[in-house]
Structure formats: structure tokens, C-alpha cells
């Protein structure tokens, strides 16, 4: 019971991170395709107020794994060492670039660094997710794999999928936060990236069955939940595809792409989770075998569980304090 509750907390952290830093990193990737320097700055400034809070979900995700499933934390990370390290390099560059560029404009080079680092971090995260399908090598509970043992073409595919998916989220966010030409181009490009993500994701769902961790849909319950969630995901994606090219100035036209993509993202991750439970890494690292002692789990559920509403409230506050369009008024910083 306690294990399941904590697994739910870990899942909430993962979903919050993917959605929030997904749009955030996606805006960075999108900025690479923007030739107009003023537009690039708008994109950077639109995430300057929130990147810190979005990225904190990644730290909480890591720590939630460390504290609740210590055996997984201590073996999965060495397993995915190189992509994780490269991703961390990129996150360092990105965080510093955002502040440098907003504190000391125009900072063109920092703006470019922000875009490149966003791209590398997105790909690194997708690649890391992909390594979760290759077998983990353990001896006496400690990692003994080799440096490139977790690398595969499947991980490259997930890397590309996540990058394109984040970019679609980024365009959805941009459409909501801008007006005029930037909003229009975000609508066009968002349509393309959303469609591309759907195709890539279909390829992932086929290819995953050739890895060491194929989808487990053995019981009727699993198959039903998996199918239902994919249906939700399709609904979300269709909503986004309809919403993106809708150019009228209305709240619905602003909100539909982002809302649809959030539903799709959450559904896809939940579906993969359902088809995978309780395996963390193949062949036999499971939720049950990695869980921490009872005393720890109680402390975590009380200490961190009770703080979760506060954490969500801070996130809402941070996003609401800077609601509205960015390029119609003043920039993030004068």
C-alpha cells in the first residue's frame, strides 16, 4: 500500500516534470528555428520566470526515487550514466544562459546557447528513457554494466521522439504566450511537430516490443487500461491538431493546443507505465525489490506528501503572477 502511494508520488513528479519542463525545453528548441532576434528573446523571456520551478520537479523526481526506491536510484543512474551526464551539462548551460541573457541583454550568444542546450537536454532525457528498456547488469545489488551497454537505436528513437514532443509543447505554450506573427508561426509549426510526434510515438510503441522490456498486456485489465489511455492520448492530440492552426484571437484558440497536448502526454506516460508495472528495469529490478524500509516510507508520505499541495500552490502562483501575453506588453525584464 505504502509502496503504491509512493509510486504515485513518483509518477506525479515525472508527469509534472515532463509537462512543465517539456514546454520549457521545447520553447528553447523552438528558439533555434526562429530567425528574428526579437522573437528569440521573447521565447527566452517567456520561460525566464518559470524554468527554475519547472526544473525543480526533476530534482524532486530524482530524490523521490532515491529516498523511496534507493536500490533503483543507485543502479539505474550508473546504467544511464553518459546520457544523464550530458543532459546535466546541458541543464547547467541552459539555466545560466537564461539568467545571463535576461540580466544582460542582448546577449545573442547566450540566447543561442539556451537553444542548443535545450535541444541537447531534451534529446538526453529521451535517450535516458530509452535506456530503461535495456537489461541492467547487477552483482550483489551493485551496478556492473559497461559504459555503452545501455545504448541502442531504440534509445535514439526515444530521444528524437521526446525532443519533437517537447518542441510541440513549446509551440503550444508559445501560442498561448504571444500574439501576431509569432503566434501564427507557432500555430503552423506546432501542427507539424504534433503530427511528427504522433508518428514517432507509433514507431516507439512498435519498436519497444523488440527490446528487453516489451509491453506487458497479458491481462485484460492491463490491455483495457492501455487501450483506453491511448484513446485519450489520441483525443488530446486531435484537439491540439485542431487548435494549432486556429488563428482567431480567443482564449479557446490559445488554450486548446496546450490542453490537448498535456492530456496526450500524461496519457501516453500512464499507458507506458501500465504496460510496464512493476518492472523498473529489465530483467528483474521491480518496484517491490527496490523499495525503502517502512520507517522511511512513512516519513516520506507524511513529510513530502503533506507538502505537495504547497508545492503545487507555489507553481500555480509563479505561473499566474506572469499570466498574459508577453510580446504585447513589456518584456520579462527591462
Amino acid at each position: 500500500m505504502i509502496t503504491t502511494l509512493w509510486l504515485a508520488v513518483v509518477l506525479v513528479c515525472l508527469l509534472m516534470y515532463v509537462v512543465l519542463d517539456g514546454y520549457d525545453l521545447g520553447v528553447g528548441v523552438a528558439s533555434l528555428f526562429e530567425r528574428d532576434t526579437a522573437h528569440r528573446r521573447h521565447l527566452l523571456e517567456s520561460v525566464a520566470v518559470g524554468w527554475d520551478g519547472n526544473e525543480t520537479w526533476l530534482i524532486l523526481l530524482g530524490v523521490a526515487l532515491w529516498a523511496g526506491f534507493p536500490a533503483a536510484f543507485g543502479t539505474v543512474l550508473p546504467h544511464a550514466y553518459l546520457p544523464m551526464i550530458v543532459m546535466l551539462f546541458a541543464l547547467v548551460v541552459r539555466g545560466v544562459s537564461v539568467e545571463m541573457a535576461s540580466q544582460a541583454p542582448p546577449a545573442r550568444r547566450w540566447t543561442t546557447a539556451f537553444g542548443v542546450a535545450s535541444l541537447v537536454a531534451s534529446f538526453g532525457q529521451g535517450f535516458t528513457l530509452g535506456t530503461l528498456t535495456s537489461a541492467l547488469h547487477l552483482r550483489d545489488g551493485a551496478f556492473t554494466g559497461s559504459a555503452f551497454g545501455a545504448f541502442s537505436w531504440f534509445a535514439v528513437l526515444t530521444g528524437v521522439t521526446v525532443t519533437v514532443g517537447y518542441t510541440a509543447l513549446g509551440y503550444a505554450y508559445t501560442k498561448q504566450k504571444s500574439s501576431g506573427r509569432l503566434r501564427e508561426s507557432a500555430g503552423r509549426r506546432g501542427l507539424v511537430t504534433t503530427a511528427a510526434t504522433a508518428v514517432l510515438l507509433a514507431a516507439v510503441l512498435v519498436a519497444i516490443n523488440a527490446t528487453a522490456a516489451p509491453l506487458n498486456l497479458s491481462s485484460a485489465g492491463r490491455a483495457f487500461a492501455f487501450g483506453g489511455l491511448l484513446l485519450f492520448a489520441t483525443g488530446g492530440a486531435v484537439t491540439a491538431l485542431v487548435g494549432f492552426p486556429w488563428n482567431r484571437q480567443s482564449r479557446a484558440a490559445d488554450a486548446l493546443p496546450l490542453g490537448g497536448l498535456i492530456v496526450a502526454t500524461v496519457s501516453v506516460f500512464l499507458a507506458l507505465g501500465v504496460a510496464r508495472y512493476p518492472v523498473i528495469l529489465p530483467p528483474d529490478l521491480t518496484v517491490g525489490s527496490a523499495v525503502g524500509p517502512h520507517n522511511t516510507m512513512v516519513f516520506l508520505l507524511i513529510g513530502i506528501g503533506l507538502n505537495m499541495p504547497m508545492v503545487l500552490a507555489y507553481n500555480v502562483f509563479a505561473h499566474r503572477a506572469f499570466g498574459g501575453k508577453l510580446d504585447s506588453g513589456a518584456g520579462a525584464h527591462s
Partner: protein, 465 residues
């Protein structure tokens, strides 16, 4: 170099780089609260100017501290996977509390603090500033609790080689926490104080933005003057309450290999393999006096008391402590002199003293780094003292992977450090003049200098940009 050596260097580089930034920003976040409160109460422009200027320096330093700190969390699993798996049930929840009670608070309000000018009310701005400062303080608290547990573990049992908590109160309020916590808080306030005082001294030497510089220096040195004596007392108690649990650390700090020395070794070049000092400068009887025995009979224990396999590296521990201690004495002297000058009403005319304060800008940061080297190097060869050896805690990665990450982090962090320094120099050159509310008038209005409050002749300020 071995896998263990590379992993330790990687950790040392990343953690010292990270610590440099909280050493500036925790104290700055509190300074921001104070000056914004003053601005809110008095409405005086100079306080808004101070708020905006120090916020520029805070903003980028805070961001670097955040991203470099995120790296450390993941290193616990990446490079120290066995440590992560074995201590996760105890340390993990403490860091988890840090994330939910500190990181999210900071992250939720930093946006308003940095970009809220003209968009939010003064009350909201002040509340956001307070919340960010509160977050930085809470963050320090949890981190010190976690690290202190590694120094003096308590409230746990070991089941199948894994640490499991039995009593959370004992885990968090472990024997060394209660002294190390205030020691660290005072340290970050003092280091920020010297940083602020040093920057302000530069403007005083230049004769620029004098009103701004005087108020900044006055607050910074005032706080440091109040805290320095307290800090010497706290530091003494950290030694008194932690070292009985960790005798090898004390032996290495003192720099003695053999028992019986009643003196205090000021400088030494230790030879770890031969277990002797190649050179040492010993002051007779001072060691005994520091141990509160003026009769010159209390001797210091030597590192040979500890078997070779349990000895920390003496050079790192010894010199880490010396850097901290000598920097503390320098800072104590500086604040003492500042207080005397202030009482005699000469603080703003003592130009040589301003130059001196400028030189002490990094003193507090160096003291903190030295202190951490003492704490961490002196705990070796253990990662959880007496329970888990560092050599047993490391991830069994290919050395090439770790070499890649060491080189990557070194290069990246060097570039980030340079970028921050270049940014600092640029912000300093442009100066606080642009942050004065009067600067916001249309560009055709000439820029006039900040009013001079103490009647000392002031050179007209030049806006560099």
C-alpha cells in the same frame, strides 16, 4: 588515476563550484529583504537602488547555484550508486524535505523577485523576497542536517548493509548538527557581508555612487562585525562537539604525526606515505593554550594513533583548516578595525581602509571552502563516518566514463565561473547609477550624482555605459 580517485575529484570539483555561489547568494537574499523593507518603510530612492543593484548580482549567482546543486543530487546515484542505495533511506528523505520546503519556495517566488518590478505591488514584492530568503535558509538547514549525519551518524540501524532510520529526531538532530548549523548560517552571512563590503569599497575608492556604497558597506560590515565574534565561538564549539567523534580529523587538523606536541603547528608540509612532516613551523605551548591549559602540559594527539588505513589525508585537512582559520582571523581583524573607525567617525574618510576591504572581498568565500575541505577530507576514508568507506560507496563505472565527466564538468564550470566573473565586472563597471529611480527619467535629462550624506567631497559620478 583510479576510479575512486577520479570520482572523488569529480565530487570535489562540482561541490566546491556549487558552494561558491550559496556563499554569496544566501546572505544577499537576506540583504535584499532588509533593503526592500527599508525602501518600503522610508520610500528613499537609495534603498531601491541598492535592491536593484544587488539583485543583479544575486540573480545570476542564484541560477548557477541552482543548476550546480541539481547536478550534485544526481551524482549521489550516478557516481556514488552504492552510497545512494545504502544511505537513501536516511539521506534521501532529508534532501526530499529540502526540495519541497526550500527549492520549490525559492523557485515559486524567484520569478517575482527578479522580474516583478512594475508588475506586482510592493507588498507582494517584499513577500516574494522574504520567501526566497526563507527558502535559501531552509535549504542550508536540511543540507547541514544530511551532511552532519554523515559526520556523526545517529538514529539508524544497519539491515543487510543498508542504513535504515530508527529515530528521525536523532537522525536530523544528530550530535554535530546543532553546532554546525548555526556555524554554517553565520558563515554564509559573513561571506556575503565581505563580498558586499568589498564591492562597495571599490566604489568608495573610485568615488562613484557614494551614497549607495556607504549604505551597502555600513550594513555589510555591521552584520559581519556582530557575527564574527559569535562565529569564532561557534567554530570552537563545532570542533568541540564533532571532533570527539572523529579523532583522526582532529589529529590531521593539528598536523601532528606523533603524540606529545604541546605547541601549535602554524605551517606544515606533510608526507602522508612516510607519516612525517617534511617541514613544519611550530609555536611552542600555543596548542596547549588553545586547549584551555596555559601551563603548557596538554599535548595534541598525533595521526599515528589512527591505523594507516583509517587516516585522512593530512595535507588537505590541515590546509583546509588553516585557510578557514586564517581567513576568519583576517575578517575578525577587519570588522574590528571597521568598528573602531566607525566609532571614531572616520570610516568614510579612511581611504586606505577602503582599499584593504576591497582586497578582503573573497575572504568569506575562501573560509567556507576551506571549512568544507576540512570537514570532508578530514572524514575520509569514510563517507559515513565509521560505517561506510568511500572506496566501497563508489559506482563501478568504466574509468573512462568518469574521466569524461570530470573533464566535462571542469571545462564547463571553468567557463561558467569565467562568465560569472565577466558578468560581475560588467555589472560593476556599469555601476549602480542606472538602478537609481531618477535614472528612469527621459534620456535627455542629465544624470546627476547620488546625494552625498556625510559632507565628504565626492567626485561626480560617471555613467560608464
Amino acid at each position: 588515476m583510479s576510479l575512486l580517485g577520479l570520482s572523488r575529484w569529480q565530487f570535489a570539483i562540482t561541490v566546491m563550484f556549487h558552494m561558491t555561489f550559496p556563499a554569496i547568494t544566501v546572505g544577499l537574499s537576506i540583504l535584499l529583504c532588509v533593503v526592500y523593507a527599508l525602501y518600503w518603510r522610508t520610500g528613499r530612492a537609495v534603498y531601491l537602488q541598492m535592491f536593484r543593484f544587488w539583485r543583479r548580482i544575486f540573480a545570476v549567482g542564484f541560477a548557477i547555484g541552482v543548476v550546480a546543486g541539481a547536478v550534485i543530487t544526481f551524482q549521489m546515484g550516478l557516481n556514488w550508486g552504492v552510497y545512494g542505495a545504502k544511505t537513501g533511506p536516511v539521506i534521501g528523505p532529508i534532501i526530499g524535505m529540502e526540495v519541497v520546503t526550500a527549492f520549490f519556495v525559492e523557485a515559486g517566488f524567484i520569478g517575482v523577485l527578479l522580474y516583478g518590478d512594475g508588475r506586482v505591488r510592493k507588498a507582494t514584492m517584499f513577500a516574494a523576497t522574504v520567501m526566497v530568503a526563507l527558502g535559501t535558509l531552509l535549504s542550508s538547514t536540511w543540507i547541514i542536517a544530511a551532511n552532519s549525519w554523515m559526520q556523526t551518524p545517529a538514529g539508524y540501524r544497519i539491515v543487510d548493509g543498508r542504513f535504515e532510520p530508527t529515530n528521525w529526531t536523532q537522525v536530523i538532530f544528530n550530535p554535530s548538527f546543532l553546532w554546525r548549523w548555526p556555524h554554517m548560517l553565520a558563515a554564509v552571512l559573513i561571506s556575503a557581508g565581505f563580498f558586499v563590503a568589498g564591492v562597495s569599497a571599490w566604489y568608495l575608492v573610485q568615488g562613484r555612487a557614494v551614497g549607495f556604497a556607504r549604505r551597502s558597506m555600513s550594513i555589510a560590515l555591521g552584520v559581519a562585525a556582530l557575527l564574527m565574534p559569535v562565529q569564532l565561538y561557534l567554530g570552537d564549539n563545532v570542533a568541540g562537539h564533532e571532533l570527539p567523534y572523529q579523532l583522526p580529523k582532529l589529529e590531521a587538523i593539528e598536523g601532528n604525526w606523533d603524540n606529545g606536541n604541546t605547541g601549535f603547528i602554524l605551517f606544515a608540509i606533510p608526507d602522508q606515505a612516510a607519516a612525517r612532516n617534511i617541514a613544519a613551523l611550530d609555536i611552542p605551548c600555543l596548542g596547549s593554550a588553545i586547549a584551555k591549559d596555559l601551563s603548557c602540559r596538554t599535548a595534541m594527539p598525533g595521526l599515528k594513533l589512527t591505523p594507516a588505513a583509517g587516516r585522512p589525508n593530512m595535507a588537505a585537512t590541515f590546509w583546509g583548516f588553516r585557510v578557514m582559520f586564517l581567513a576568519a582571523l583576517l575578517m575578525f581583524g577587519t570588522t574590528f578595525a571597521a568598528t573602531v573607525l566607525r566609532i571614531r567617525n572616520r570610516l568614510w574618510t579612511a581611504r586606505r581602509f577602503h582599499r584593504f576591504v576591497l582586497c578582503t572581498t573573497p575572504a568569506g568565500i575562501l573560509a567556507i571552502l576551506g571549512g568544507w575541505v576540512t570537514a570532508e577530507a578530514g572524514r575520509q576514508p569514510w563517507v559515513v563516518f565509521g560505517q561506510l568507506r568511500t572506496s566501497a560507496a563508489v559506482s563501478r563505472l568504466a574509468p573512462g566514463e568518469v574521466l569524461f565527466s570530470v573533464l566535462g564538468f571542469s571545462t564547463l564550470y571553468l567557463i561558467m565561473l569565467l562568465a560569472y566573473v565577466v558578468y560581475l565586472v560588467r555589472v560593476l563597471r556599469i555601476g549602480p547609477e542606472r538602478d537609481h529611480p531618477r535614472h528612469e527619467r527621459p534620456p535627455d535629462t542629465p544624470d546627476s550624482s547620488v546625494p552625498d550624506s556625510a559632507g565628504v567631497p565626492v567626485r561626480r559620478e560617471v555613467a560608464v555605459r
